[in-house]
């Protein structure tokens, strides 16, 4: 995915950079493909940044700044391509890392300025898509499902993005959005937390998931591959018929 290839290019159309993130490169490749497809249908030329790896969050959140900085620097240099094209990230918590915490991580280093430059360009995918609501509606997205939206903690409480993904879901005909009582409560992923304290982490997921069946939910939608890895993985283990999917995937299916 780091070939720098242009997925869809037309002279004179706006270009966006799609940063897949490490989860997008390893376990959520379809999510990235779906995001690229949706963006292309909306008329954007989509570039994948050459050489981007991970935002450094796993080490940063564990307190290991040295390896976090080394990894984040590779991604920073890959993203800092001299353009001003928006960098879209299909992950709330990676966006939060790049936009808010890189400043701290690169403070007083040679990369401090570049980090600020990138922080200004980076956008969380669903908030970008929310601005394209009328263009999305023009594609007549349609999908029949009872949907619950799960807020990613970093997206909700660090980036303060709450309404935007819901607005995107509202453009899809046939989607019935249900607000769950614990919708804003953490799913228990927490990056390395999920493997440091697996039992607590799974119990936290269950506390959320137990709300789905009584509410008759078909689709659990989020905009963070980390949360989806956690919630989807637990649903799959429990043999639940509910699918946990990324907003980009829902949209791609709805406009297919």
């Amino acid at each position: 995915m780091d070939t720098g290839e242009v997925i869809a290019d037309h002279v004179g159309v706006p270009t966006v950079v799609l940063f897949p993130t490490c989860l997008g490169d390893v376990v959520a490749r379809q999510t990235v493909a779906d995001a690229a497809q949706v963006l292309a249908r909306l008329g954007f030329a989509v570039r994948h940044p050459r050489g981007a790896t991970c935002c450094g969050q796993p080490a940063f959140n564990s307190g290991h700044d040295v390896p976090a900085r080394a990894v984040a620097r590779a991604t920073l240099h890959a993203l800092d391509d001299g353009s001003v094209d928006p960098i879209l990230v299909p992950s709330g918590s990676c966006t939060s890392m790049v936009r808010l915490h890189w400043r701290e991580l690169f403070h007083k280093t040679d990369d401090a300025e570049a980090a600020l430059r990138i922080a200004r360009r980076v956008r969380e995918l669903s908030s970008f898509l929310a601005e394209q609501s009328s263009a999305i509606a023009a594609l007549q997205p349609r999908l029949t499902a009872r949907v619950a939206y799960h807020d990613s903690c970093h997206m909700l409480r660090e980036l303060r993005i709450r309404e935007e993904p819901r607005a995107v879901l509202a453009t899809i005909e046939g989607v019935e959005l249900v607000e769950l009582a614990g919708g804003e409560r953490c799913c228990g992923f927490g990056g390395t937390f999920s493997v440091r304290y697996p039992e607590v982490s799974v119990a936290m997921a269950d506390a959320k998931l137990q709300e789905l069946e009584p509410a008759g939910i078909d689709l659990l939608v989020s905009a963070d591959p980390g949360c989806l890895m956690q919630l989807g993985g637990r649903l799959s283990r429990e043999g639940s018929p509910v699918r946990a999917v990324h907003l980009a995937t829902v949209l791609a299916e709805a406009i297919a």
């Binding site: 490749r29 620097r73 607590v200 993985g233 799959s236």
Partner: protein, 481 residues
């Protein structure tokens, strides 16, 4: 119950109050968060009890501030606390001068050992044979009850929750609601055993049983020991909030009152209370104000008909002054309302004991490494998902998320993290900072996972993956879904 019994109460069975933790009897150094959490999670009903109580408290808190400039109030409170802590030595000196002028005897305890010794000595000097205690987390920090038992003093916890904690030989599981992790049935069984007969399993009857015993203790105790919610510098007073009236009786009925208060509890003026008090009670119990707010200004004076003959206040440092002026100073702004515990999704599953020391939840994950040191207490700072719910509810806007990150960083810098973890992150950094190696690792890793997968799900419980796959599948989102 006869009229006389109603007034005097009935003595509690002898020796029931014995369970008291020895100094250093905390579980912290010997067990991990994971082990302690599992123990609570395995107890029937514990999780339901904790989740139910905390959800309810959090909901009450938000309701309480509907239509109020909550954010403005919190900004003001943050300012007051930040100012008080930034000028702590001055305000403390002012408080001491005024308290002494009121006739209060002021002591200073540098650590838990001194606090235990000072209070035990006061009991000897004042010929105190029994004390009633109102709820105090500071006294938990110093394992005060065991020191008092050691000095031959009978101790009666008088907060209903703490009364249960003491009788069970338990520890408080929450700063405001000590038996939040217990069920009514457990209390019923305990009280019936204490009473030597089957009591009705109703809250009112159970409370009445405790009340009768406590009434007797209040009337016969020589000393009363309390904590303090605030120390008011301009007046030298100690302020306490309670809902059961036990704080007022503890500070006023016995011959001697002893308060053990953390030095960070100082605030400049009485007129800071209209800001801080509603935030403390609103975030603590969802009340506009508690049933009792007690401001004590020292011993009885002149012809005053009641109040203690002597008042001692023991100011507790125990790790606090070391934080002044440093990266973690804001932890001292805490007013111990417990709101961060109520909204914490981790605490909701595991309760307070999992944190291994006195304080649970986000503030516990911050205070434990700070007060006990990284080596002993550092692990619990990892036991959060950094979800930020605590930041959003803290009435004095302590940046708990940042403090937790800072503590994790400090722990890694001091090489207190397990060797395995250090090596893993170093190796990860070496590979993922090089795009070509990163690419190779995702290709190889992805291929390996695809080999292990059935359909799109890896559920094999291989050693390297077990901590994930024991409870969850690892989904490879190759196709839609």
């Amino acid at each position: 119950m006869s009229v006389q019994e109603e007034v005097d109460g009935t003595p509690l069975p002898p020796g029931w109050s014995a369970p008291a933790h020895q100094p250093g009897a905390f579980e912290l150094p010997t067990t991990t968060f994971r082990e302690r959490a599992e123990r609570t999670m395995a107890r029937p009903f514990a999780r339901t009890a904790i989740a139910g109580a905390t959800d309810h408290a959090a909901e009450l808190t938000w309701l309480k501030f509907e239509g109020v400039d909550h954010d403005g109030l919190r900004d003001q409170a943050k300012q007051i606390r930040a100012h008080a802590i930034a000028n702590l030595p001055d305000y403390l000196e002012q408080w001491i001068d005024n308290a002494e002028a009121n006739g209060t005897i002021v002591h200073f305890a540098a650590d838990e050992v001194e606090a235990r010794r000072i209070i035990a000595e006061i009991c000897v000097d004042e010929q105190i044979a029994s004390v009633v205690k109102s709820k105090s987390m500071a006294s938990e920090e110093v394992s005060l009850n065991s020191a008092l038992e050691g000095a031959g003093v009978d101790v009666f916890e008088t907060d209903l929750g703490e009364f249960v904690v003491q009788a069970m030989g338990d520890r408080p599981g929450h700063v405001i609601a000590p038996i939040l992790h217990r069920t009514k049935d457990e209390v019923h069984a305990l009280f019936s055993e204490m009473a030597g007969r089957e009591l009705p399993n109703e809250a009112e009857a159970l409370t009445a049983f405790a009340r009768a015993g406590l009434r007797h203790a209040f009337l016969t105790a020589d000393g009363g020991i309390s904590g303090g919610n605030f120390l008011i510098a301009e007046t030298g007073e100690v302020m306490l909030v309670t809902n059961e009236g036990n704080g007022r009786l503890t500070t006023a009925a016995p011959r001697v009152h002893i308060a053990l208060v953390g030095i960070e509890k100082v605030i400049p003026r009485r007129r800071d209370l209209p800001v801080l008090l509603p935030l403390l009670t609103g975030h603590g119990t969802g009340q506009q104000i508690t049933t009792y707010v007690t401001i004590t200004g020292g011993p009885r004076r002149g012809a005053e008909p009641d109040g203690p003959e002597r008042t001692h206040v023991v100011l507790l440092d125990a790790g606090r002054s070391a934080l002044l002026g440093g990266e973690f100073e804001e932890a001292l702004h805490c007013i111990r309302c417990g709101a961060c515990q109520n909204v914490c999704p981790v605490y909701r599953q595991v309760g307070g004991h999992a944190y291994g020391w006195v304080y649970g939840g986000p503030i516990g994950a911050v205070l434990t490494p700070l007060f006990r040191g990284q080596e002993e207490g550092g692990e619990v700072a990892q036991a959060t998902t950094l979800c930020g719910a605590c930041d959003d509810i803290c009435p004095v806007r302590i940046p708990l998320h940042d403090l937790l990150l800072g503590l994790r960083r400090q722990r890694a810098e001091q090489a207190q993290t397990p060797r395995r973890e250090q090596l893993a992150f170093a190796a990860w950094g070496a590979v993922w900072s090089r795009p070509r190696l990163y690419r190779a690792s995702t290709v190889v890793g992805g291929a390996a996972l695809r080999v292990l997968a059935r359909g799109d799900a890896v559920s094999t419980r291989l050693p390297g993956l077990r901590r994930w796959t024991d409870g969850r599948d690892l989904l490879l989102r190759r196709g839609r879904g």
